[in-house]
């Protein structure tokens, strides 16, 4: 039926389209991965802000959220270790089963 043969050109065009589509899939996958991470981080931050705003000041959840920065947290943990290692706590644990459970 055709009066001119464009099959070869049509095939070449299909290959060009495929190359473009393939490059786009690779690019979009990379972008999707990166944006998913970003989205997860943003969701976490949003949830934290929501909790902070909804918990009454001084309440346990409020304190749990507002623990301060990482350095402060490390400082508190260090203090806890020192307390646990202190002679007074060691002696007290000899006489208290409950204290031994807490320190375990």
């Amino acid at each position: 039926m055709n009066t001119t043969d464009l099959d070869g050109i049509s095939l070449e065009q299909a290959l060009i389209d495929f190359e473009v589509a393939n490059a786009r899939v690779i690019d979009l996958t990379a972008r999707l991965t990166s944006l998913s991470k970003e989205l997860l981080q943003a969701k976490t931050e949003l949830a934290t802000v929501k909790l902070r705003n909804s918990a009454p000041e001084g309440s346990a959840p409020y304190r749990a959220i507002n623990v301060g920065d990482v350095a402060e947290l490390e400082q508190l943990r260090d203090k806890l270790r020192q307390l646990r290692a202190s002679r007074a706590v060691q002696i007290a644990s000899v006489f208290s089963g409950k204290l031994r459970q807490v320190l375990a």
Binding site: M1, N2, T3, T4, D5, L6, D7, I9, S10, E12, Q13, I16, D17, V20, A21, R24
Partner: protein
């Protein structure tokens, strides 16, 4: 300079009612300035028997015909034409819809524009070419005729010559692209699926590559509009575009809508419309004559070739309405000497003067011009 070779591609999808007229008018192309080959790209039209009929039609007229093995969609069908032009050593490719009527000397008018420095694409002017359209009340009634298209094209070409109007985006209803630009910018993006907005994307890519996007005001191609797309079911009868494809344009070119608004409000287009309509009216009046119509009621204006100038009586307005084949234009005139103003505008006397009146006024006219008035429609519509 050797004669340039042009591949004129007409994309087809069904369209039994209008495709033959488009091909016939393309076969009339004047080949003084270029060698022109016509390629019909049938995108696997599903209408029973139509592809066979079209193939035979093309074979009889020595026109290249190719039916794709499966439906590609407009962007990929257009790309096939662009790639064919590259592969077969053409200098220019023209991409065109199939619901059009071309003037015979279209290529001679488009080529000088396409040859200008930095031009990446040239869109023909038309009654239906997106925001650039020359406004007409009913193009199908008034303009869908080979003789009228030839006349309008010659008239506009005589006035605008090879002027190039820079526009925000090209329209592929009839667009000429130099092959070097195709090689540089590439083909249409297939992400536009079955079509619409692909040429906007392409021309904005060409703009980013440093090329000008131009419209040739010295041309005129009749375009029915949306014929192929309605047939293909891409757009519904009441819709003008594909929202999903517009969203891609918005994402890729966030400034584009503002650029179009800016272009429209710059006044360039309005000035071009006014210049074109004014020249069309004057040329038609010179060639076919014009009638001066005065009165509070309008006449019928049965002769489409006649330019009608309608004046309101009593000097209530300082502009007159001029009408010709669905085109409308307001022209300024001096109410104290309306006749002289109109004569000066058209640089000739009117072919006839018609006065339309009712009631008591008509009696006075009857007394003033005994035997010269034709009365119609009781009680007295002169």
């Amino acid at each position: 300079m050797s004669r340039p070779r042009i591949l004129h591609c007409i994309t087809v999808y069904n369209g039994r009612a209008f495709v033959p007229a488009a091909i016939e008018s393309a076969l009339r192309f004047d080949k003084t300035d270029a060698d022109i080959d016509i390629l019909i790209l049938d995108d696997a039209s599903p209408e029973p028997g139509w592809s066979e009929e079209l193939a035979a039609f093309c074979r009889q007229r020595d026109v290249m015909y190719y039916r794709t093995p499966r439906n590609l969609g407009i962007p990929r069908n257009v790309s096939l034409g662009m790639l064919t032009a590259v592969k077969r050593g053409y200098d220019y490719v023209v991409i065109s819809n199939s619901d059009v009527i071309y003037p015979a000397t279209l290529m001679s008018a488009m080529l000088p524009v396409a040859r200008q420095k930095g031009v990446g694409s040239v869109t023909a002017w038309s009654n239906n070419v997106s925001v650039y359209s020359l406004p007409n009340l009913d193009p199908n009634q008034h303009l869908k005729d080979q003789g009228v298209v030839d006349w309008l094209h010659a008239t506009l070409n005589g006035h605008f010559g090879d002027a190039a109007m820079d526009i925000p985006a090209g329209i592929s209803f009839c667009i000429m692209i130099p092959i070097d630009v195709v090689k540089d910018v590439g083909i249409m993006d297939p992400c536009f699926g079955r079509g619409y907005c692909e040429e906007t994307d392409w021309s904005l890519r060409s703009l980013a590559a440093g090329y000008r996007i131009c419209l040739a005001p010295g041309t005129f191609v009749f375009h029915h509009g949306r014929g192929s797309n309605l047939d293909a079911g891409i757009v519904s009868p009441n819709a003008t575009t594909v929202p999903g494809n517009e969203a891609i344009i918005d994402l890729r070119y966030p400034q584009f809508r503002q650029q179009v608004e800016g272009f429209i409000h710059s006044g360039i287009l309005a000035r071009a419309h006014e210049d074109a309509l004014s020249h069309i009216m004057r040329s038609a009046a010179q060639q076919f004559g014009y009638s001066l119509e005065v009165g509070p009621v309008a006449g019928n204006g049965t002769n489409e070739n006649n330019v009608r100038v309608c004046l309101s009586p009593g000097g209530y307005s300082s502009s007159a309405q001029v009408a010709f084949r669905g085109f409308r234009l307001d022209i300024p005139f001096d109410p104290s000497d309306a006749g002289a103003s109109v004569r000066a505008y058209f640089e000739r006397e009117p072919s006839n003067i018609n006065v339309f009146d009712r009631g008591a006024g008509s009696t006075h006219h009857d007394e003033a011009l005994p035997g010269q008035l034709h009365k119609r429609n009781y009680p007295s519509f002169i």
